[in-house]
């Protein structure tokens, strides 16, 4: 082989030469996302790895997502047919297995559970309903996606529509878990939309909340929450796992791990040796999974799919999902306000969309604007954490009814 020849060959193997315009655009988008994550503080913990994964996946010929290639050969010695690896496949392909097989999201939930204090929910069981109401956002968006099918040019299958709807759950791991099972090709845009809107909750929610409530309602001061006993805290996760899984087996993985993490957290008060498991679940294990999950989810965003009208539709629908979820939550808050004779401040309803704990903080902030002496935060944490359970349940329903 001559020098010039092999140099030519080599230059053809360079990224530049093979670059498509989609890849160029995607790389640009990844830069924007990195900027938003670092400069604007958009959920940096996940958006930064996602954006970097997007960058890596759109570098031409890098093949970090490449599947391994095996061939079946006859063993010369034994004469048996044996698998033989021809190509090992790309790094991100292997790390992505944890998403594909539905392992990472439950593990993240394990850590979230180990960090979550369900006390406010246990102290005020009714507030759990607000966490249910906010899930309307998921289903109306789901319907919305199906309605878009009537627009020529856009077609969403039922599983795709379901995956888009779950953005309204305002819960990253749940969205990724469901989408990886129903519409993996949409993981990129859906994950980006979900985390971006979670970061935008403080901008999206207040106007809706104010539009739906009167100043009087916003001024309502709620009474102090009762203290919660150790026993309640420990029984709670076990109860939730059993009840939810018996009604909805398809939600067992997410809810089960969330509650195992929470059990580890609460049980440390009885058996302090469990502290080390709790710390690992909410610490190193979670960090490792976040790095792998973020990078590989981002790496699913290849230009061909990402740069389509669908993505714009997803972004639009995602915003609708958040807005409706917020709205229905507040409206339910108003209903509970009536029923309880003005004991419930409707503003805590918007926290039902989860996006823990930012949504709760928003309720607090809007409430304090109306009445500086008003302190809704702990009351809003109830619907807030209930929303996590609520969207996991909703995901379970979608999983069992929309997987084809």
């Amino acid at each position: 082989m001559s020098l010039t020849q092999s140099i030519l060959e080599f230059f053809n193997s360079m990224g530049f030469s093979a670059m498509t315009w989609q890849e160029a655009v995607m790389i640009g988008i990844s830069f924007v996302l990195i900027y938003l994550a670092l400069k604007k503080g958009f959920e940096p913990l996940l958006l930064l790895p996602i954006a970097f994964g997007m960058l890596l996946a759109n570098l031409p010929l890098a093949g970090l997502n490449a599947e391994p290639i095996y061939q079946i050969v006859v063993d010369p010695v034994t004469g048996e047919h044996v698998h033989e690896m021809v190509d090992a496949g790309g790094l991100l392909y292997w790390l992505y297995r944890g998403v594909k097989l539905g392992i990472y999201p439950p593990l993240i939930f394990l850590g979230v559970g180990a960090m979550t204090d369900f006390g406010p929910l246990i102290a005020n069981p009714r507030s759990i309903l607000l966490g249910a109401a906010a899930q309307f956002g998921i289903f109306t968006t789901f319907i919305g996606a199906l309605l878009l099918n009537f627009i020529p040019g856009i077609t969403f299958t039922v599983p795709e529509a379901a995956s888009i709807g779950i953005i309204g759950g305002a819960d990253g791991p749940t969205a990724i878990y469901l989408t990886a099972k129903l519409a993996p090709h949409l993981l990129g845009p859906i994950a980006v939309a979900a985390y971006s809107y979670m970061a935008l909750v403080p901008l999206i929610q207040p106007p809706i909340m104010k539009a739906l409530t009167t100043k009087e309602e916003r001024q309502i001061v709620m009474e102090q929450l009762r203290p919660v006993s150790k026993v309640e805290r420990i029984v709670f996760p076990i109860m939730v796992t059993t009840v939810v899984s018996l009604v909805l087996p398809s939600a067992a993985a997410l809810v089960g791990m969330l509650m195992l993490g929470n059990l580890l957290r609460e049980a440390t008060t009885m058996q302090s040796t469990l502290n080390r498991l709790m710390k690992t679940a909410s610490g190193e294990l979670m960090n490792i999974v976040v790095i792998f999950l973020g990078t590989t989810v981002g790496a699913t965003a290849k230009g061909e799919i990402f740069l389509s009208p669908k993505t714009l539709a997803i972004i639009a629908l995602g915003l609708i999902a958040f807005s409706i979820g917020t709205g229905t939550g507040v409206i339910f808050g108003k209903i509970m306000c009536k029923l309880t004779g003005g004991k419930v401040n409707p503003l805590i309803g918007s926290a039902g969309v989860s996006a823990v704990p930012m949504a709760a903080r928003v309720s607090q902030k809007v409430g304090q604007e109306a009445n500086p002496s008003n302190f809704l935060l702990m009351h809003a944490m109830g619907p807030n954490v209930a929303g996590v359970i609520g969207s996991a349940v909703a995901a379970g329903v979608l999983l069992s009814m929309c997987s084809l």
Partner: protein, 123 residues
Amino acid sequence: MSEVQQLTYGLIVTLVGMGIVFLVLIGLSYMLDALKLLSNRGAAEKKAEAVKVERVEEPVEEPAEVVNVPEEDEGELVAVISAALAAFMGSSSNVVIKSINRVEGNTPVWAKVGRQEQMYNRF
């Protein structure tokens, strides 16, 4: 499926879905009421435990360091202990850390193993 079929199915899913969501969460909210009844007994136990736990933890956490880590980390340990001390007195009184003795130094063997137990018998 045609758009219309998809849509109708979507509406079914929505009805069932929101139905289940409310069913489950309302169910939980009433069970939590039931659970509260436990809490009264629970509350009683709680105090007892609270104390028990304190007792247990002291030997548990610190030695986890002592036994695990080589000498140079002992300092860290002492920092933690001394300040932990401060933490539990601190709120009421003034603290000036006067003298810190090396833990290894004046630890009776039995205590040392008492600590080892805390780690070993976890596996």
